[in-house]
């Protein structure tokens, strides 16, 4: 059975069919990329998986468990971590604290114990810190440990967000445009990290990305979407050579005609 099974997923905002019947599945230990032109519904699929939107129809199964029955905050408990396209970090906290917030799902103390700072809280804190330091070492964030997010450059923030997701200790990590706004060197780093996540940490990666070089380099399979529908599914090369995908990106008479037909 696949790790993540998305079947006939759709969400309509009034008349706008942001996602309209998309199906795919992500195998364990796979890097799966979703590509598509702007407004295709890529990020919306992510938001449906992390339960920020209520799907109009369709199902999302993770490890055989239906996600639609869970509130947004209970998705993380299953082992799904995510990053955001427009960086949603906690700006007025340090990098260390941001990563520690990623450990929230693993907390074993309640607020009363926290208020009294019982010895158990300290033991837990040490364990969380250990895990966070491992993530920092992996992403080479040590130099920024005690820096406030608000003062950090964009590229570093992107990495911190990946770090926060990794600190959660997930099974599946959703990366929403991890390389957007990064330099060539930085996105090369991202490619290596994705490789390592899969190989060394045994993670499955679901990624939305525009940078085709990165997508080709790391993806096992690629799904192309446009106008909320899936166009093609296969290896990066197959999808890139698909005439429908090319039409969706570059435009063609037949595609435009089809668009008008939909409208």
């Amino acid at each position: 059975m696949s790790l993540l099974q998305v079947t006939d997923l759709a969400v309509h905002f009034g008349g706008v069919k942001a996602v309209d019947g998309v199906s795919f599945d992500v195998e364990e230990g796979e890097v799966f990329s979703i590509i598509g032109p702007n407004g295709a519904g890529k990020s919306t699929i992510f938001n449906l998986i992390s339960r920020l939107y209520e799907p109009t129809r369709g199902s999302i199964l993770f490890n055989g468990e239906e996600l639609s029955n869970r509130p947004a905050h209970a998705v993380a408990d299953l082992g799904i971590a995510r990053t955001f396209q427009n960086i949603e970090l906690f700006d007025h906290s340090t990098v260390l604290d941001n990563l520690l917030m990623g450990r929230h799902g693993h907390r074993a103390t309640n607020w009363v114990q926290d208020l009294l700072f019982l010895p158990k809280v300290r033991t837990e804190e040490r364990a969380h810190r250990q895990k966070v330091e491992e993530v920092m070492e992996f992403l080479e964030l040590e130099a920024y440990r005690d820096k406030m997010i608000a003062g950090l450059p964009y590229g570093v923030r992107k990495v911190v967000e990946i770090g926060r997701a990794l600190a959660m200790g997930p099974k599946l990590i959703l990366l929403d445009e991890p390389a957007s706004g990064l330099s060539v060197e930085e996105s090369q780093d991202v490619a290596f990290w994705i490789e390592d996540m899969r190989r060394d940490m045994g993670l499955s990666v679901l990624m939305v990305e525009h940078d085709m070089r990165l997508v080709t380099q790391v993806s096992d399979r690629v799904l192309a979407v446009a106008n909320g529908r899936s166009l093609a599914l296969g290896s990066a090369a197959e999808v890139q050579n698909d005439p429908e995908v090319q039409a969706a990106y570059l435009g063609s008479d037949s595609f435009l005609a089809a668009e008008e037909g939909v409208a």
Binding site: N47, S50, R51, L52, P71, A72, H73, A74, V75, A76, D77, A81, R82, F84, N86, I87, E88, L89, F90, D91, H92, S93, L96, D97, L100, M101, G102, R103, H104, G105, R107, T109, N110, W111, D114, L115, L116, F117, V121, R122, E124, E125, R126, H128, R129, Q130, A150, G151, Y154, R164, M168
Partner: protein, 365 residues
């Protein structure tokens, strides 16, 4: 400049990294404990008042400064604390039980506010809490058999282990009692901020969306925040009741709510120390105005006693000044001055310049 060398994770987890910092806190505590021997009755009463305000300020600080919620109704929770405490004590319950129950009552009531707070934010939440304040005020008047209605009620004097803690008969004892309560709450507050619960408050403040994605139950977090905040404010209200001795609903007016907001914003949002700085300002300024007014009257012969609303005007000017020139508050200013001295002569003028960020507009709501 002193540099703390971190040799274990515990250095970051501990409240104070080394003996120098611990020593400073210990010195401050000793000074505060010895205050009754150092100053007269008048200033000791003022110090007590300041500590009570700082306690209430810490209550609101955790809400406004650390979890980004707002409340114009905190006077209501002070009132609940005061009335529950005085009511229970009148019924014969000893203070040591009545006092925590007063905090608990205010806290439970506050946690209920979280239900609308999950759906509202900013100005809407402010108006909702204001409405709550009006309801509580009316309830106090209506429940006359319990609260004494418009006539008010008397807070019985505190007896503990046969020692008298009455505010008039033995002010020093009452001051020490308040100091112990404030110290304990400060300690618990500091613990909160270094634990997962405190971090979840910050997460909810800065980005609810990603808080959810990290597995933080935003609804529950807000309930805990409101509960803790209102509970501590209730404790402050109970002490305020004992401090004033005889009070009615007018003691806990809307101006108390606004003054509390002043305490946290002028003191410095997001810092425990801010609550104390703000409390000192809010209690000292009226006294200073009074002293200046008397001085002017005696020396130059200008009588400002007949000018109504002078205090309010000065407060307003101070608040506006802070919001424009020093949004980080008194504590923020203190940090900057300290950095200047520590780095002297290397401090740069632009070191604390606020950065504009353009990333926020596209954020998800």
């Amino acid at each position: 400049m002193r540099v703390v060398f971190k040799t274990s994770y515990d250095k970051d987890i501990d409240l104070h990294p080394d003996w120098w910092d611990r020593g400073k806190i210990a010195a401050l505590l000793v000074l505060m404990a010895l205050l009754p021997f150092l100053v007269g009755e008048y200033y000791l009463a003022e110090a007590t008042n300041t500590l009570i305000w700082a306690l209430a300020g810490m209550g609101l600080m955790v809400l406004v400064g650390h979890s980004g919620q707002v409340s114009l109704g905190h006077a209501a929770f002070m009132a609940i604390g005061a009335y529950v405490d005085a009511g229970l004590m009148t019924a014969g319950v000893p203070w040591i039980i009545a006092f925590p129950l007063a905090g608990l009552a205010a806290g439970c009531f506050g946690a209920l506010v979280a239900i609308p707070a999950v759906r509202m934010s900013g100005i809407y939440l402010a108006i909702a809490t204001l409405a709550l304040f009006v309801i509580v005020e009316e309830m106090i008047i209506i429940l006359e058999p319990l609260t004494g209605g418009v006539g008010g009620m008397f807070a019985p004097s505190i007896m503990l282990f046969g020692i008298d803690f009455d505010r008039y008969a033995s002010l020093s004892n009452f001051y020490w009692l308040v100091l112990v309560v404030v110290s304990l709450v400060t300690w618990a507050y500091a613990n909160l901020l270094r634990s997962p619960t405190g971090r979840s408050f910050l997460a909810v403040r800065d980005s609810e969306v990603s808080a959810r994605a990290l597995g933080i139950n935003v609804t529950r977090t807000k309930a805990v925040v409101f509960g803790l905040s209102c509970g501590v404010t209730g404790l402050a209200g109970a002490l305020m009741g004992h401090f004033i001795s005889f009070f009615n609903y007018e003691l806990f007016s809307i101006f108390i709510s606004i003054n509390l907001l002043l305490v946290v914003t002028i003191g410095g949002l997001g810092f425990i120390q801010g609550a104390f700085f703000g409390a000192i300002l809010i209690t000292a300024v009226p006294q200073m105005i009074a002293i200046l007014r008397d001085g002017l009257n005696a020396t130059v012969g200008i009588d400002l006693g007949s000018v109504p609303g002078l205090d309010t005007l000065i407060f307003a000017v101070i608040l506006v000044g802070f919001i424009i020139y020093e949004p980080t508050g008194l504590y923020g200013r203190w940090l900057k001055m300290r950095a200047y001295v520590q780095l002297f002569p290397l401090a740069r003028r632009d070191m604390f310049r606020r950065q504009k960020t353009y990333l926020k507009t596209e954020r998800m709501r």
